[in-house]
Symmetry: C2
Subunit: 342 residues, 2 copies
DNA sequence: CTGTTAGCGCATTCAA
DNA sequence: TTGAATGCGCTAACAG
């Protein structure tokens, strides 16, 4: 068995308190006893148990990032990586570590109950979802990213509707009338069948507004259609393949995640189509590689790093019982070459 | 204050055990008492405290990934993301969660001591480093990724030396004689000034072997030079800029991380150089976007996903007291267009 | 099926 | 400066 604080105390002929002080409040004891204790500790390979420590101090020194996707999917998505990078930037500077909280057995409930963290940042989970109730039940400080606007909810995000509307406007103003939108598939969150689709819905609204101005609308028989896809290269490729095989293929594809665009590019290459001459492609997020593609990908730039950074600061404040308020960040259109005129 | 198991027990007129069973061993008590307890629990918003649970059960249900880089840097590197994806793949299937363990205050020592995890996977940390000793001191099961070969160390990696040698051979066989290698900067691990550079050194050895066959060698005045860089786009760009400004610029740049190549591409674009006509660029890792660049990046393909997956399985075995042995994975050369002949 | 009891390993208040 | 005692919240062996 591993040595415990008792073993050290006994061997050093002091009490547990003294040993504890040696590690946590060195100034409170004489340098001599401290040295003796530390020597014995290192001899016996003693290291204070983090869990017991956590229980006694009632704080873990970790924050969790709650994601509706599997861990496997999470690290597949460069945009989420950007968010994590922003969160990490704050963690690095404040001695807290990061826990990835993903569904266990496809369900988030258990994950939340078992999470040993001081606070949580959710990504893509909105109000009205049982998950957030559970968080409240645990009296867990939390901040949402892309969780939608809502009073008494601290959220970090952009105006997705406005961003989508602006993007679609650019597409339509270039005479495209036959467009396809790659939505992100909804995800099951708990046994009660929760879904997440907040930003998706907001963006759809935005697209709709712009379409409306041009007398267009989404629909089975219209020329604006929605494809349900995942935020992966493969899914983008697959969906694009289907579209490109249609007798009358769309002239523009809008991906709700840049990462899908990589797949679309490949599908176009396979089909011998040139971007943007034969077909236009636009994305959303502006992941790092977007501008390195050829042609560079037109997209909506929203800083995942900033989102993460703000969220991490806010949850840190919340943990310290300081007040925190929602943040709405800016977005910008990056109209690169992949979007052309008809 | 949050309700505890005692509050529930008291209010339900049962003992703590019964409440505990209601949550963990529902079959051990009558359905009736269970329902009553759960009703009271949800009424009082009771959720078993994960930390106390962990202390009592002596297992956290989490594994940690120990990285010598800051969290911020970690999520900047697509290759590490691939490793994490592999680890995540195993986690998703076995109900364990993932903790990112990065240096605190630039030092890993504290991180290791405070890590509340059942096992650890290190990335880029090798034998002879104090970090591993500390891990042993904590009796913590661990597996290294890219930690080098060593008896009594469970490691997952590839034959870096052979991979580097093969890569350099391809470059030299295409008549390049003036090559630059972008090494990865060493990193400080602890107060005692630990460094990590295992895979780097192995690869340098491999490069050297190939160079040797052509009568070349690294050196200040030779035509094979080493640049110390970080694994980021920016660092790659910066280093490339300097090289391209030289009176006699190299004809080939070898990046030890694909991500740097993105920066090199950009620097070449700025300088009006075409790849591979004016200069060749090769990488290492084969990150997802490598094949989407234009021209596609020549590189050494090693599967980060597989590394992560194997390491996670091994550490899981170790935690379960099962035996585990090192794994050496394959690599393959992806000789894409960015590598040309002189 | 349920209750009693004893830890799990450490932090910390209060006395000495 | 040090020590004894108490609590953190839960699990699990054992007894009934």
């Amino acid at each position: 068995m591993r040595a415990t604080i008792n073993d050290i105390a006994k061997k050093a002929g002091v009490s547990k308190t003294t040993v504890s002080f040696a590690f946590n409040n060195p100034d409170k004891i004489s340098g001599e006893t401290r040295d003796r204790i530390m020597a014995i500790a290192s001899e016996l390979g003693y290291v204070p148990d983090p869990v017991a420590r956590t229980l006694a101090m009632r704080q873990t020194g970790a924050i969790g990032v709650l994601l509706p996707q599997s861990v496997h999917e999470v690290f597949h998505n460069p945009y989420i990586a950007e968010i994590l990078r922003g969160i990490g930037y704050v963690c690095d500077g404040s001695d807290v570590s990061l826990s990835i909280l993903s569904p266990q057995n496809g369900v988030l409930t258990k994950t939340i109950r078992n999470a040993a963290v001081d606070g949580i940042i959710t990504v893509g989970i909105g109000p009205g979802m049982s998950v957030l109730e559970l968080l409240g039940q645990r009296r867990m400080p939390f901040v949402t990213i892309d969780g939608g606007k809502h009073t008494n909810l601290v959220n970090v995000g952009i105006d997705d509707e406005a961003a989508a509307e602006a993007l679609m406007e650019e597409v339509l103003s270039r005479s495209h009338r036959d467009v396809a939108v790659f939505m992100l598939k909804r995800v099951t969150l708990s046994e009660t069948g929760d879904h997440f689709s907040l930003t998706n819905d907001m963006r759809l609204n935005g697209f709709g507004k712009a379409l409306d101005r041009y007398g267009l609308s989404f629909g089975q028989y219209s020329t604006a259609r929605v494809c349900h896809t995942e935020a992966t290269i493969e899914s983008g490729k697959e969906a694009a393949r289907e579209l490109l095989a249609l007798p009358r293929r769309p002239t523009a594809i809008l991906c709700l995640a840049d990462i899908q665009a990589l797949g679309v590019y490949e599908a176009c290459r396979e089909a011998g189509l040139s971007i943007p001459k034969d077909i236009s492609v636009v994305g959303f997020d502006d992941i790092p590689s977007a501008s390195y593609l050829s042609p560079p990908l037109a997209t909506v730039r929203q800083s995942g790093f900033d989102k993460g950074m703000h969220a991490a600061r806010l949850v840190t404040d919340l943990i310290a019982k300081k007040p925190a308020e929602s943040v709405c960040l800016d977005f910008t259109l990056e109209l690169r070459e992949s979007l052309g005129s008809l």
